[in-house]
Amino acid sequence: MHELAVTESILEIAVRHAEAHKARRITDLYLVLGQWSSIVDDSVQFYWDLISEGTTAKGANLHFRRVPVSLVCEDCGIKYEPGSDEFTCPNCRGSHARVITGEEFQLEAIDIEE
């Protein structure tokens, strides 16, 4: 739902880095989104096509890398991916876990033409 604000931020960050490198055009953006970051790719793409118009990022391709959630059980130490309605450890049934991946929410890199 908040993809417009998110997409505006992506554009702002990309354009700022491109300007710092005196880019003529941004061709690609590489986004990393954890499964728990609640962002819908299609929706970002939809806003992107609208708001990148008239900027150096116009027409740039968005690449989404989705990172699944992985947890480490603090009780028995195994690494696991939680189910959709079951977060406890599949090995020892413990519920003390630490999130290792799945909350990423960043612009990793851009490709530019100078």
Partner: protein, 221 residues
């Protein structure tokens, strides 16, 4: 040939920076701020009403209210005795640090001990946008169902307090408290929880005591 430029920047870093500015403004005025989030109908406004009434004469409260189109909730807060500022997000699904910055400017921080920010009713977007508050409070409620931590992990992970409202409905609604709490425990180990009912007043006192204690501790620093 295109050139590859590493960026590695958090997408909402601009909002995060502004949230820090809001926080330092509140810090220098020694005003504690809390961000109250929930799904629509969970009882944010009812909890805030109870809080304003329960702390009347002891804690000076300013209220920032995010609502999509009406100022109904801010009127309720004023009626209960607080200074209130309304932010109409104009259809937006969350408050952000910019909106809160301008709302804070409309409050006389020197005359306040506590700012309560009532976010837009939504379990997704508000979790991602820091406002500069010191504590985040999620109001969950029994009729929403016990699967909410599993469906909205981002929201449950980022908060300092979970208030479980409408416990008076437990006899009438299927709600597995142990299943609900197990989800919370994994997402947010040791998070403070209050079970209460804004309708009957059960459990409200523990919440008020915690909040008042927090305000006092914050002022004494």
């Amino acid at each position: 040939m295109p050139k590859h430029i590493p960026v590695v920047e958090k997408i909402l870093s601009a909002n995060d920076r502004l949230a820090l500015e809001n926080q330092s403004r509140l810090d220098s005025a020694k005003v504690l701020a809390i961000n109250v989030m929930a799904s629509p109908g969970a009882g944010k406004t009812s909890l805030i009403e109870q809080t304003i009434k329960g702390l009347e004469g002891r804690v000076r409260i300013g209220m920032i209210n995010g609502d999509i189109a009406t100022s109904f909730d801010a009127s309720r807060a004023r009626a209960a005795g607080a200074v209130a500022v309304q932010i109409n997000t104009g259809g937006g699904c969350h408050l952000d640090a910019v909106m809160v910055q301008s709302a804070i400017s409309q409050l006389d921080l020197g005359a306040l001990d506590l700012v309560i920010i009532e976010n837009v009713g939504n379990l997704v977007c508000p979790a991602d946008f820091k406002l500069g508050t010191h504590k985040s409070v999620l109001v969950a409620s029994i009729p929403e169902g016990d699967d909410k931590p599993y469906k909205y992990p981002g929201m449950y992970r980022g908060v300092d307090v979970v208030v479980i409202n409408k416990i008076d409905l437990l006899p009438y609604v299927p709600f597995r408290m142990d299943f609900f709490k197990k989800g919370i425990e994994v997402l947010n180990p040791g998070v403070r929880q209050f079970e209460l009912s804004c309708q009957t007043g059960a459990g409200i006192q523990a919440w008020l005591d915690w909040l008042e204690g927090g305000v006092k501790e914050f002022r004494s620093h």
